[in-house]
Amino acid sequence: MPRRKGAPEVNAGSMADIAFLLLIFFLVTTTIETDAGLDRMLPPMEPPDEDVIIKQKNIFTVNINKNGQLLVEDDLMNLKDLRTAAISFLENGADGSCSYCKGKKDPASSDNPTKAIISLKNDRETKYSIYITVQNELVGAYNELRNREAQRLYNRDFTEMESEYLNPETPSNVRDELKDKVKNIQDMFPQKLSEAETSTN
């Protein structure tokens, strides 16, 4: 038997096919998770120790009935107008202590943004999609006001600053700097969105 010269060749002709099949396999089996949404905090179970008295004018009531109709401050309202109504309520600034508010200073509406509370109620038969739309509009109202102030103070959008701050890939020195700015804007328009328990009737 003659001695073989060098290492034997491996037949690699089908390698490309195998790689291609693997690629297809992983493409099909991987699902890209949708991982974004509306962040909310639920109220804690224990009621606060003392009853806080809140003036009626500082509460902006939003009621959704089972047909998806909106009752805002006891008036029927179109969903498209909700954001504007919420904004004018939040920055009304009736007591004049809010220097950055551009509201009408209507004495029958909220005193200042730190006191303004939005109360959201819904029926058990309300569609989830309507509820999300309403939540989206209310969060949008806060974001619009916060963006406006962030543009004025730091020349950039609040939502952009916040997502950069929350992104774990942001370097820590940038994040520390952003933290104060984000906090500052959040304090100017604190998100006070109360969700009472769903009404049963």
Partner: protein, 124 residues
């Protein structure tokens, strides 16, 4: 990778003011929706809750959250978010019951997972 197959219909609603869930290890998922066609015969067409890979009742949500929380490292146990993946045709009654359960076990941070899109498309 896919870690649990869906037993329920799960068309999420659209929203614009969304935040990304950055840290996947801090998230507990709850799926809600109508059982898919193959399960509809057994479980009916009313929206149900799916925890991991099986259907569950509302009263099991609390213990599920506690069990999932116990699996996480101690330093993460206080910063967990519950992602609610709710089909857009579900009713708020079931969601309200779940929110009540979540409050009982002090899992207060929730994220209503949505697609990125115009929220008014939900009304159609």
């Amino acid at each position: 990778m896919k870690d649990s197959s869906l037993l329920v219909e799960n068309t999420l609603p659209n929203a614009t003011e969304i935040k990304k869930l950055e840290k996947k290890d801090r998230v507990i998922y709850i799926y809600i929706g109508k059982p898919t066609q193959e399960y509809a015969k057994v479980f009916g067409t009313e929206p149900k809750i799916q925890l991991n890979d099986k259907f569950a009742n509302v009263d099991e949500v609390g213990s599920y959250i506690l069990a999932e929380r116990a699996k996480k490292p101690p330093e993460l146990q206080n910063v967990l978010t519950t992602a609610l993946k709710v089909d857009k045709n579900a009713n708020m009654g079931l969601i309200a019951d779940i929110k009540q359960e979540l409050r009982k076990v002090n899992a207060l941070k929730v994220n209503y997972t949505t697609y990125d899109g115009d929220a008014f498309n939900n009304l159609k």
